[in-house]
Symmetry: C2
Subunit: 284 residues, 2 copies
């Protein structure tokens, strides 16, 4: 049996076909343009396969409330072409097979949970730190949703004492995404993160915000593992800086075990999203 | 069929007997002393009833990991008599009926969810602001646990610009509990909260911390309703101050509906804990 997975991002759509063992047999990356055009290309790709079911990890906000009239619809996104687009309804119409939808970060978390850095634990949080910041939680094999769905990248964090940057989140200014995303680093320091590798102050500040958010996620969600990925985390020194600060802030109040295991890097090399999307379909 | 409920707190243990409709037919409050002495009194109370099952909402930290060897044991508490006490094992031995355990705040949340301010929604968060601060989440009828369990009262919150109080949490200093619990108000302002009713600056600062925490809970857990209780919330002006600040901080980024409904007062008049404990038993 083969299953389809779609990782629907703001700039690209990754489509793949795979099995229950996490093997991908075919994959295609399609640039995200207007819904009609994009989904025609998606359909052309999947038309070569006899799929059992399809899973989608979508950019958002997306309505995940199964009791809602707009379940599976993209909500108030800055990508105006996709605003109020009934993604789930359209895919169900296109394929006439079961289609399952979740957030992009929940799908990525599910991929890591099943096949990657979370495969030895019962619950894990996957955080991506890049152009934006988002996080998804899987517990006992299920992704955690809520009334709409979590938007964990926008949590409020205490300011670093040496940091006067106002923050760049258009909604909240100095929330986590406003202070610690890739664009926040670039706006604060005048250069992209990868060009600032040797500037310790940059990463001290970055680790401060990530650590405070991770402490809050830990105290609120009590996950067994935290997987920290995304473009900004290519700066590998961040892992040790974040672990050190998390340890200091938690001050042994909760036992998270070995910090090197508790806060770890992803294992699926940017395929966690689409593998998780396939898992959404294969698991049901 | 009658069910037993125990709300086990650090200063008192509330025992009650009730039914599936949320009616309490008998209740007794026992001061919390050493485990043997306290549990003998608990047993004496319940010996008059033919219980189907028993539910316990316990102070913590308590091990809620069903796969753990110490499942149902009180962990590292400052109440040294109770440290490493196998509460679940002892109660199972005492009563020979099914016994279900959860945190005190999860039980209280379940009580409000089933019979109180959360009975019209599918998920709610119950926050208690008193000597300490804690919160529990119920979603689709189930309490949310984690690897150990959440400790939401200790999240980190941005400092209020007019506040120089160091914080009084013995573990984290200036976490939410360190900045906004009853003892924090008393230490910061030199007087108990209820004697400071007319000092607007006190409640402005208090609302600042509560609102920041509530915004983070909302973004991380996406609950349908937040029920805000505990002794400090007797200062009723806090509700409108907190709602106003939450609205400003969220800045319409997520749609929480009418804020007067979203952030509401408890409805069970200090019986949410024991009613929730009975529900833990009656629901299984």
């Amino acid at each position: 049996m083969v299953f389809g997975g779609i990782e629907a991002g703001g700039t690209k759509i990754v489509c793949a076909v795979g099995n229950r063992s996490g093997e991908i047999t075919s994959k295609k990356v399609i640039p995200t343009s207007a819904p009609e055009e994009t989904l025609m290309e998606v359909k052309a790709f999947f038309s070569h396969f006899d799929l059992e079911a399809l899973g989608v990890g979508s950019f958002g906000p997306v309505d995940l409330n199964k009791e809602s009239d707009t379940y599976g619809t993209i909500l108030n996104t800055p990508k105006t072409d996709w605003k109020n687009f009934d993604l789930l309804g359209r895919l169900k119409g296109d394929y006439q097979i079961p289609v399952y939808i979740d957030t992009d970060v929940n799908a990525a978390c599910l991929g890591e949970y099943r096949y990657g850095a979370g495969k030895c634990v019962n619950s894990c949080l996957y955080i991506t730190v890049g152009t934006g910041i988002g996080a998804g939680l899987v517990q006992d094999g299920y992704t955690f949703q809520g009334k709409i769905h979590p938007e964990m990248g926008h949590v409020m964090v205490p300011r670093h004492s040496d940091d006067s940057f106002a923050g760049c989140c258009p909604y909240h200014g100095n929330c986590l995404e406003g202070m610690a995303s890739g664009p926040a680093i670039e706006k604060r320091h005048g250069n992209k993160g990868y060009l600032l590798s040797h500037d310790a102050a940059v990463w001290e500040i970055e680790a401060h915000y990530l650590a405070h958010a991770i402490v809050n996620y830990t105290l609120i969600l009590s996950p067994e593992r935290i997987i920290l990925g995304g473009g900004v985390m290519k700066q590998e020194i961040l892992y040790s800086l974040v672990r050190e600060k998390v340890s200091k802030l938690l001050n042994s109040y909760v036992d998270v075990g070995n910090l090197n295991d508790f806060i770890s890097a992803p294992a699926l090399d940017d395929e966690q999203g689409v593998k998780g999307a396939i898992t959404l379909a294969a698991d049901r």
